[in-house]
C-alpha cells in the first residue's frame, strides 16, 4: 500500500485531496530532485516519432524557405516600385506572419527534431543527441556566415536609401536572419535524418 502511494502522480495526489504544499512536501520526502519535481508539476507533452520520410521533410524545407524568400522579394520589389507609399510599412506585419508560419511548421511540432526537444537532452538517446549536436554545429557555421553578411548589408541599405525605405529593407534582412536563427538547427536535422523505420 505504501509502495503504491509512493508512485502516485501530482494529479492523483490532488484527487486524494492533498493540498499543493503537502504534495510538495511528499515529493521532497520521496527524495525527488528539483528537476523531477518541476517535471511532475508541469509535465511536458509527449514527443512523437512521426517525422515523415526524408523526401517529404526535404520538400517541406524547400517549400517553407522558398515561400518565405519569395514573399520577402515580392514585398521588397513592391515597396521599391512605389517609394514612400504605405505598402512599405505593410510589408512588416506580413513578414511577421510569414515568420510565424515557418516557426509553426518547424519550431513547434512535437516530433523529436522540433525546437521543443532541442532545448534539452530529455527524451533523446545518444544517437539523437549526436545528431542534434551536429545539426547545431552546422547551423552555427551557416548562421555565423549569414550574420556577417547581413549586418553590413543592412547598414548599407539604410545608408544608401533615404527615408523609411532603407529601414524597411533592413527590417526584411532582420526578419530573414530571425527566421533562420529560429529554425536552422531543426531544418538541418530534418534534412539529414534518414527515413524512419517501422517500430515492429
Amino acid at each position: 500500500m505504501i509502495d503504491d502511494f509512493d508512485k502516485l502522480s501530482v494529479t492523483e495526489l490532488r484527487l486524494r485531496g492533498m493540498t499543493s504544499d503537502k504534495i510538495l512536501a511528499e515529493q521532497k520526502r520521496r527524495g525527488m530532485s528539483k528537476e523531477q519535481i518541476n517535471d511532475a508539476w508541469f509535465p511536458k507533452p509527449p514527443t512523437y516519432n512521426r517525422i515523415g520520410s526524408r523526401r517529404f521533410r526535404r520538400r517541406l524545407v524547400l517549400a517553407t524557405y522558398t515561400s518565405w524568400f519569395l514573399l520577402a522579394a515580392i514585398l521588397l520589389m513592391t515597396s521599391m516600385a512605389l517609394p514612400g507609399s504605405i505598402i512599405s510599412l505593410e510589408a512588416l506585419p506580413i513578414l511577421v506572419i510569414a515568420n510565424g508560419v515557418v516557426l509553426g511548421v518547424w519550431f513547434f511540432r512535437r516530433t523529436y527534431i522540433s525546437r521543443e526537444v532541442l532545448s534539452s537532452d530529455k527524451g533523446l538517446d545518444e544517437r539523437l543527441v549526436q545528431n542534434r549536436n551536429q545539426a547545431f554545429r552546422q547551423a552555427f557555421q551557416i548562421f555565423t556566415g549569414l550574420v556577417l553578411l547581413a549586418w553590413p548589408l543592412s547598414i548599407a541599405v539604410m545608408l544608401a536609401q533615404p527615408g523609411h525605405q532603407g529601414f524597411v529593407d533592413a527590417f526584411v534582412i532582420y526578419f530573414a536572419v530571425a527566421v533562420l536563427a529560429s529554425t536552422l538547427p531543426t531544418v538541418i536535422w530534418a534534412w539529414r535524418e534518414p527515413d524512419p523505420v517501422d517500430p515492429n
Binding site: 516519432n49 523529436y112 545518444e126 544517437r127 524512419p196 523505420v197 515492429n200
Partner: protein, 73 residues
C-alpha cells in the same frame, strides 16, 4: 537478426534499452555505430559476448559457418 530470432519488436527492444526505436532501426541497417556503453547494454541484453553481436567486418552467413565447422570436424 538477434532481435528477430527472439521475436522482439523494435519498440520493445528500444524500451528495454532506453533508446528511441528509430535508433534500433538505424543500428540494424548499419547507419549508426553505437557507443561502447550502448553496445555493452545490447550484448548484455542478449546474454552474448560483444564480439558475437558487433563486428567491424560483416558477419558471414550462418550456413557457411556451420558447414565450415562440420568440414573441419
Amino acid at each position: 537478426m538477434l532481435r528477430a530470432e527472439r521475436d522482439l519488436s523494435r519498440q520493445r527492444f528500444a524500451d528495454a534499452l532506453g533508446v528511441n526505436y528509430q535508433t534500433i532501426g538505424y543500428l540494424e541497417r548499419g547507419d549508426y555505430n553505437p557507443s561502447l556503453e550502448l553496445a555493452f547494454r545490447i550484448a548484455e541484453y542478449f546474454g552474448l559476448p560483444l564480439e558475437a553481436v558487433f563486428s567491424r567486418q560483416p558477419f558471414a552467413p550462418m550456413s557457411s559457418q556451420l558447414y565450415r565447422k562440420e568440414d573441419s570436424a
